[in-house]
Amino acid sequence: MNEIIDPRSIDRPNSYIGKSVPRPNAKKLVEGRGQYVDDVVLPRMVHVAFVRSPHAHARIANIDAAAALKLPGVLRVFTGQDLAEHCEPWVAVLAHLKGMKSAPQHPLPPERATWVGEAVAAVVAESRAAAEDAVAKVDIAYEPLPAAVDMETALAPGAAVIHADLGDNLCFERVNESGKVDEAFAAAHRIVEATFHTARHTGLTLEPRSILADYNRASGKLTAYHSTQAPHMMQGVFAKHMGLPEGDVRVICTDVGGSYGIKVHVYPDEVAVAVIARIMGRPVKFIADRLESFATDIHARDHRIKGRMAVDAEGRITAVDVDDLTGIGPYSVYPRTSAVEGNQVVNLIGGPYDFANFRAKTTVVFQNKTPTCQYRAVGHPIATAVTEGLVDLAAEVLGLDPVEIRRRNLMRDGTYPRTSPAGMKFEGLSHEASLAKLLAMIDYPALRAEQARLRANDIHRGIGFASFIELTNPSPFMYGVGGARISAQDGCTVRIDPDGSVVAATGVTEQGQGTEAIIRQIVAEGVGVPIEQVRVITGDTLTTPYGGGTWACRGAGIGGEAALQAGIAVKQAVLKVAGAMLQASSDALDLVNGEIVDKASGQSRMPLVELSRIVYFRGDTLPPDLPRELMQTRHFITKQYPFAFTNGVQACWLEVDVDTGMVKLLKHWCVEDCGRVINPLLVDEQVRGGIVQGIGGALYEHCLYSPEGQLMIGSMADYLVPMAAEMPDIEVGHVETPTKESLLGAKGAGEAGTAGAPAAIMNAINDALKPFNAKVFAQPFTPERILAALGKVPSRWPVASSVALPLRTADASAAPALVTAPKAAAGTVREPGLFGRMFGRSRA
């Protein structure tokens, strides 16, 4: 039996797992020779532009396309009614999320527009420019309806109900509770509490959402070139809702220009393109522009969380109680649903810590804004910010160092497997080792000394920590048990061609994270060939084994294990043939570096290319009953744990300018444990990219709306993203606790950075502001919010406050350490609209 090679023994031939091997597909990308959907041009191809709703909620009374159809190059205009005849609507609920509800959603809404930017009509023309010209000429009569915009009032009496059939705006509600929470709070030594806000933000993939759908009437087949993370899922969706056999639908992902969860969902306008292609019987292309991306890519993380934590006199956490509210837009997003983010929050809060009493409630409500759904590190940055914010508040009232309180409360290494108070099963984590490694990287005493020294000069630096857990390698417990056709298993086919080269076709997909690179490493090692001989095929439902694609950090852990097993199976098949040819026991042979060798001596017996020549061209010379399949497929699914949890810890070192409120990031560190590291070069930059996305949410990114539900971001000048100049150098370290569920031992690594960064930044800002008794808990931590916390400007935003309550303490010195932010200015201040801001009018 082949054993997995210890990645540290890197001198052995073909031991690629664990090495920083460059990506095979990078060269085409650096030469501009990638192929994204918009680069695909087909004969008779036409283009779609959508007419989009300017209202948050309105009845579509009439659509008059006559003027649009007169423009040169314009071919057709489709309404929601036109497409409804050709496409079954969907309802995005999951059976295991008890009581969840949502409304039927069509490619284009037949009756009502429910958010600003929702596509309500589609113009098809010979060019995108001509289609856009015609969009301006489509005359739509809207009857505006009352909108439910603010999630805080979506369930209030008298709130506008978005879908009358649902009765109210409640999508989903869940309380996750264990232990005796109320008793623990009643008996607490100290209680800290705060209200946290995470801002609605979005993924902003640089390649916008893209689809080119082609329906061939003669063959009856639909081919969709689609910028997606889950081609097989989309194949099923198109087939089911368009009434096609699944086998007649092919989804091809060429290069994907960023995804981060944004491109794993069913977007109604993309389904509309496929339906239009079927109606017109020709290729139809839709590439979203940037404004369309802001208004229609899923948003995420629009949460308000009230949290409190109880601690005992020794600084141990005794209970956590949180109340989460999130607004998800007018529809739950198909097929993953928009309840999963809130559900993750109540599963992940408190995750790194050893305590007994836990209660977390999430309330998921509909509102007339862009739909939200899963974006990189779903729920994690929210849960981590709340948990780590409360831990730092507890440390402060107890007079403990933030590191010390974590040391006292983190789950001990070596105490696994175990289950968290939230019910999450952990196979093996390394919080203590990770924290120790982080402290070795940052030189904590030196940072504290520098902080103290600079404070004397009125320079305010802070250091913040965030321990976190990350959910990876999901089993069917994530979606499949709820009825969604989302595959948790994945497959890989490995074959040897006559020239001895190896082709691996995998169901996991590449969006830049390096899937093809790691599959190539794993297959080369599994088979026993030089890595240059391996080619990888991804992203085509016709040619790859059925699989879930790449999301929730499953590419390496699930797809990688399938690839390893398939590679080993091919090697066994080769050795069987070699044994017959060489009249040796196949157990005494090995395949190393493309050569059949004696296992014991390492002596070369025959090149693989000679064996494949015989198999493919002179099979007559082999024993008649000898199996000679040099192509093997293996599938892998996790079986023992619903998820493979990873863990890690981050630290952030920053400076706050207390006159301007500006935050300058000085350095960021992360230690994470993703199990077996397959390619350190790729993992490190995954972690860094994730951290920078977390920084974006923490400091800059915000999908702003007016009280009427107008989206007030229209370009990247309004919606700020991290650019190179503002970002710090980021040091990454690793601890490796491989999962025993697989031979490979890999867990996911793509979301750890995003999970922990906002919490580390929040804690660092609050650490810097300590001399001012000021704190921020509402993301993004803009200069304005920081100045408001310092009492230097009035606050126009929800002001986060935190309170530390002393309870039953005989110690008079433990007087109430009331920590409150300055009061909010009374009343709601109205935001000027997008165009007002663009022309620099003063804010109301």
């Binding site: 460059p22 990506r23 990078a26 060269k27 085409k28 990308l29 650096v30 030469e31 501009g32 020779r33 990638g34 192929q35 994204y36 918009d38 680069d39 040169p72 060019s127 420019a129 010209d133 993924g203 902003l204 993939t205 640089l206 390649e207 916008p208 290069d255 994907v256 220009g257 960023g258 995804s259 981060y260 522009d289 940037r290 969006q511 830049g512 994270q513 390096g514 070069l681 790729l682 490190d684 930059e685 860094r688 990219g689 994730g690 951290i691 920078v692 996305q693 370009s715 990247m716 000048a717 993203v721 991290p722 650019m723 190179a724 100049a725 503002e726 970002m727 150098d729 980021i730 950075g753």
Partner: protein
């Protein structure tokens, strides 16, 4: 609304002549009319840098330049500088250091980095970050990109790698 103009320009060393719509920006012209798909439209507001190309030796935002205004100009794209080998060292460093993930920003990022190194032989990390700060990358976190540009600067100056 389709006013057309006849233009001639040199693109990647080849002389071309086309009739273009007055409103068409350079990126659409390169992609739709010439089939040069290496330059990408990311925002079409001049903010993301994905469409960075060279016009008469200077980098520009291809989405903010009208093709019709470039009669007589010399245009270079990622395809051109790849074929000439002019930025091969930068491209190799981007591959070696995993400074490109999805690759959508990469052609623009490379041309901007080449522009920096043409004017400054050995920029600091801060100067590299500042010069690249008009080019958005959502994947990498920028760290590896800065590493790659820094390494090439040192290499061009005959210095050891950091």
């Amino acid at each position: 609304m389709s006013t057309t103009l006849d233009i001639a320009m040199t693109v990647n060393g080849e002389r071309i002549a086309r009739r273009v719509e007055a409103r068409q920006h350079l990126i659409d012209f390169l992609r739709l009319d010439l089939g040069l798909m290496g330059s990408h439209a990311g925002c079409e507001h001049g903010l993301c840098g994905a469409c960075t190309v060279r016009v008469d030796g200077r980098i520009v935002r291809g989405c903010l330049v009208l093709a019709a205004a470039l009669d007589g100009a010399t245009v270079e794209t990622i395809e051109g500088v790849s074929d000439t080998g002019e930025i091969r060292d930068l491209q190799n460093a981007f591959i070696a250091r995993n400074a490109c993930q999805c690759g959508y920003c990469t052609p623009g990022m490379l041309l901007t980095a080449a522009d920096l190194l043409a004017s400054k032989a050995e920029p600091t990390r801060e100067e590299i970050r500042e010069h690249l700060s008009g080019n958005y990358c959502r994947c990498t976190g920028y760290h590896a990109i800065v590493d790659a540009v820094e390494a090439v600067a040192r290499q061009r100056n005959g210095k050891a790698q950091p």
